[in-house]
């Protein structure tokens, strides 16, 4: 068997418990939504529960990877003894997390679709809305939740690498302080950078107008291909930096 496939299977086994736990929590939450909607006599309450469940998937990868990295910590010497490069080892975790995310999001999206079109009847609330609109908006949202969640997952991977390096070289407290510093100040610095004219010149290009119904997406009428390219580049840099740090600087 290909060594990476073997690693992928191992990561599946490591993450299975957490992913199942998250799925059970999702069903319990949706059950609570059904109960609340029934008690209040307002079917739209269930749709609100479903919408929150869909949006919460943005942090799914972060949660999945935090559990996976926490569990891996105990067997770090086994993980680092692998003949695979650290980038391949990390990729095995990311692929498994992404598959779990996709499954959970698919289930939630289907329930949300049923809640929106059958329980609440969105077409009655908004006569301009059509089935193609629903499919279009749904697909747009799902793709972006998948991308953002994966992106945050890479950010968490980078933070883990920083934590591993700093705790070994500077101590546990310093590791946490630096990790939290990067967690809070990193996005702030990036936000400042994204406000500059240079950023606009480099990455705000390739305008694509969205065909959405203005009722739903009045404030989000277009996207920039360049902006997606920027985040892809940033994700790649963070992933490679995390791989390099663990490969070259982490000791167990």
């Amino acid at each position: 068997m290909n060594p990476w496939l073997g690693q992928l299977k191992k990561e599946y086994r490591l993450g299975k418990g957490g992913a199942l736990g998250a799925l059970i929590a999702l069903f319990l939450y949706l059950g609570l939504g059904v109960y609340t909607a029934w008690r209040m006599g307002k079917p739209e309450t269930f749709f609100a529960f479903c919408s929150v469940a869909v949006m919460i998937h943005v942090v799914y990868m972060a949660g999945y990877l935090c559990v996976s990295y926490f569990l891996e910590h105990k067997t770090m010497h086994l993980w680092l003894q692998s003949p695979l490069s650290v980038s391949k080892l990390l990729l095995a975790k990311l692929v498994n997390g992404f598959a779990a995310l996709a499954l959970s999001l698919f289930i939630t999206s289907v329930v949300t679709l049923i809640a929106g079109t059958m329980v609440m009847d969105v077409f009655e609330l908004n006569p301009d809305m059509t089935w193609p609109d629903v499919i279009y908006i749904g697909t747009f949202l799902v793709i972006h939740i998948l991308l953002i969640s994966f992106y945050i997952g890479i950010g968490i991977t980078f933070l883990w690498a920083i934590y591993l390096v700093t705790t070994k070289t500077l101590g546990k407290i310093s590791g946490w302080v630096i990790g939290l510093g990067v967690f809070f100040f990193g996005p702030w610095i990036l936000a400042k950078w994204e406000d500059t004219k240079l950023f606009d010149a480099l990455f705000i290009w390739g305008k694509v107008n969205l065909k959405y119904n203005d009722f739903v997406y009045g404030i989000f009428k277009h996207v920039y291909v360049g902006y997606y390219f920027y985040h892809l580049l940033l994700a790649l840099i963070l992933f490679l930096a995390a791989s390099w740090l663990i490969e070259r600087k982490v000791e167990v």
Binding site: H77, E251, V252
Partner: protein, 230 residues
Amino acid sequence: MIEFKNVTKKYRNHLALDDFTLSLPKGKIIGVVGENGSGKSTTLKLISGLIRPSKGSVTIEGEDITRKVSSAKVSYLSELDVYYSFYTVGETIGYYASLYRDFNRSKAEEILDYMKLDRSKKVKDLSKGNRGRLKIAVNLSREVPVILMDEPFSGLDPMVRDSIVKGLLSFVDFQTQTIIITTHEIKEIEPILDLVILIKDGKVLQMEEVEEIRIHQNLSIVEWMKKEYE
């Protein structure tokens, strides 16, 4: 075969190895002995590529040791009593067989039979002794030039220790493989050692052929160790 050249290893404020120079020959069973904290585990971890020297160099067959070089040439048994607990014994073997191209699956099966390990049993349900046996099975099934064993007898009963020693003799190819063992249970492995290295405070205090200690000095390794430490 394995060379330590003026190696210093520091963990934050603690000096684990201090200007450590050592040359280890091929095809021997080498015991690394010394008191707690003397630098035995650090020596093995440097060979395994899990840590890097702060100063100096460690090479294997002329190549600087990195994680990649080590994973191709070294099989390392950690002193830590942890494995992937969600796997069964058979799945653990399957996982390592998929990971390492040098993993000899039939040898692993043979060792499992020899160690009387139940393939269907979950690792988390194994006794400490059987986890120790499983570690040995994984460790010895790789056909690599260097086999490292860090405290393989730690916390194990005499029967398990005996099966490990016999396993070493049965499943290691002494023509092509070198074994380096750190242990406090010196008496257990004394009969099979070729060479012994005594470490104190991160430095090599003495390196001697076991035959020389036994025949010419008429001492056991423990007696020799005590003499050298004084």
